[in-house]
Symmetry: C3
Subunit: 308 residues, 3 copies
């Protein structure tokens, strides 16, 4: 039986650390936060979150900051390592051991894959991984799940497509691992060159269908999770142009899907979803952002022992 106290003082590092019960519990706590966010809260009054961001971010940093503010806590930190002691040659471990003297909890983004584990080993306060290089982005996976559950009522039974760059996109890695715990069917749609990263692919336990043709697959899907194809990954620009155009999602493409298709995207987008899709009821990618605040409120409150 999972309970709130199990999360007290705990880090959030990787989706690999959570089973179905833990995920369900976090999602259920996040749903409670919808109400908490509506009025002034004192759940985390007197507590301080430090954001320690070694890479640029709007979305994730502001989401963590807002989550803490809505819980009644305060925020300090940095979003630009050039204005910090890192410049003076300080190790990540020393920076973390310093920052934990200020803050009750730390949200971190760092370019190295093992950064959040290193930070967690050094710290006595909880570390929330806000993106570790091309590795994991567990709070994004949890907000993606929360959005799906909110949109569809239940994640079990869904046919879910992951589309775009499945090789380098860390959000699809964390999400696919998380979906292992649900009764879903997965459709991986990508150019062959950007097929799902092998060490993630071989760990997937659900039924998985792989393909390259979005138009063919989209009618089967309940949820389509799109990602950006990054031009810089291609050596042959002609190849890039050809593939890129196969994955432009416009109203015509959306209408090939089910009426209630839920279209998600971790953002930022460049042009892979056209802006005339934004006003369609299927467009969930901005609403998704809001679910990030609820999920991060839940994760902060749980780690600080602020919910019973």
């Amino acid at each position: 039986m999972v309970k709130a106290s199990d999360f007290k003082g705990k880090d959030v590092l990787s989706m690999r650390d959570y089973g179905r019960k833990e995920i369900d519990f976090i999602l259920s706590e996040a749903t409670k936060m919808v109400k908490v966010a509506e009025k002034p809260s004192t759940l985390c009054s007197g507590k301080v979150l430090a954001v320690v961001f070694f890479e640029p971010s709007t979305r994730t940093r502001l989401s963590f900051e807002t989550a803490m503010l809505r819980l009644g806590g305060g925020v300090t930190g940095f979003s630009d390592p050039s204005a910090s002691s890192v410049k003076k040659g300080e190790t990540l471990e020393d920076t973390i051991r310093t920052v934990e003297c200020y803050a009750d909890i730390i949200a971190m983004r760092h370019p190295e894959t093992d950064s959040s584990e290193r930070a967690a080993a050094a710290a006595s306060v909880p570390i929330l991984n806000g993106g570790s290089g091309s590795g994991e982005h567990p709070t994004q996976a949890l907000l993606d799940l929360h959005t799906m559950k909110y949109a569809k009522g239940d994640i079990d039974g869904l046919k879910i497509g992951l589309c775009g760059d499945l090789l380098y996109g860390r959000t699809t890695h964390s999400l696919a691992l998380a979906l292992n715990h649900f009764d879903v069917e997965l459709y991986l749609i990508s150019p062959k060159e950007l097929a799902m990263k092998e060490d993630i692919r071989r760990d997937l336990k659900m039924k998985v269908n792989e393909g390259t043709d979005l138009a063919k697959v989209i009618p089967k899907l309940d949820v389509l999770y799109d990602t950006r194809i990054q031009k810089e990954r291609f050596t042959d620009p002609t190849k890039y142009e050809e593939l890129k155009n196969a994955y432009i999602i416009d109203p015509v493409m959306v209408k090939k899907g089910k009426k209630n298709l839920v279209l998600m995207h971790p953002l930022p987008r460049v042009n892979e979803i056209t802006t005339d899709v934004d006003s369609m009821p299927n467009a969930w990618y901005f609403r998704q952002v809001k679910h990030g605040v609820y999920v991060r409120m839940a994760l902060i409150a749980l780690a600080l022992g602020a919910v019973k």
Copy 2:
């Protein structure tokens, strides 16, 4: 009859959107904020302001942030677009639709003239224009009016001089448009090369006197609003030096004016007002900064529906 609820959920984009009654109402609310700022307030508890600043600013950003803190709210955002998703090619509209998932209200500065209108069209939360390129800076105009009213009791009946760079200075544009709604006489003092921008000039409805000689005009004025002449606008450096020196305001110049002349400046100044003027009772340019907090408190509280 203007009332607080008229401003609830509304943007603050341009002085062209306000008539005399709206301006009077905002100024009157700002005056109430002098008292509110004196002790802890919960008017905006649980609310979050996002500052979204695409250009450098000390004054305007800190003024908005302080205003929200003094109302009991929280602040998130960014002041350096290089640490944000803009770097990844995100459009202004997408950034705004993301940030509004975090914040209840957004204060924005952006280099493009139509930026605040674009943001307002994309957003469902109120947008406060904190400077849009060479276009408008309405919260500055409102704080300028509030300072004049506070210093002189009434704006109607005043003879007001605008001095310096009237061509490129957005603060004089917004202020001149705002003064259209008052019974004032305007004196425009500038080098011919920097005369009031034509599309503003032709919209002015009050009596306007134009000239180039500050010493000749200053004895007539109740208020002198000075601005910086920007060297980079001149092709002929000799011309710049000549004109620049005609507009240095020192104690001798101030004493040519009325005893109760109110000297204002949007700041930062470089050398156009000498520092030995700072201690004269006529120097209102630092006090002006404080009025910015009251005005922005009023604008935030009104837009959030926090005042009745």
Copy 3:
């Protein structure tokens, strides 16, 4: 008789401004803050701290910000002058006179030695010097004293070693001046090239022993305050390498000292204390960081008249 009201509205600029009674009073207030920090406080509710940092800093800025948050106050400011009006040619005095219109108190770091005095002369709100060039860093000296007192019960009677770069290290300057008011014996351990700055050295009133050999001195010490030797100060790289190695503090070196030796360092460190010392009970350099929050809470609360 020193009392809280003596500090109300006062700047914190230099350790030279404090006698023993003032120091004792501040340290005693800081000790009270340990309890205050444990739960939500309203001591400074409704007050705003501005951090005005013209140089990079993690530790000092976050420490001031956390201190204000734990007192229930709000924080605004900037940590990167390139995103401020300084870029437009504004003087320090004008920046300060502007910022004091927003904030009730200002914490500043600036590369120039006389910067905090200049700021204090311009400001009507209290200025807290968070580091002024190679000059002073008084809040660091106070937190160093607080750590010693907490670790040893009493500062009087201690034998204290200052080790490393005593010529350029501003923390050792402020600390040595502060220790003048205590009954301590001082050991200065440094390469001859980096001996204690002469204008500090000649003002020291306690018994002072100078030497270059840490291993010889360490058995006598109760407290060893280590600092980084900066490579860039040496013209002869061979000399640097030779001296640098004489001051590497590893477990073997620590064990040459007394069992209860307190090892301190202002951080960041590079390699002058090896990481296997971190887990020894003698390692106080991270706990030192926490004392910085208590001391800065006390200084802020005293300057704002928030404690009786």
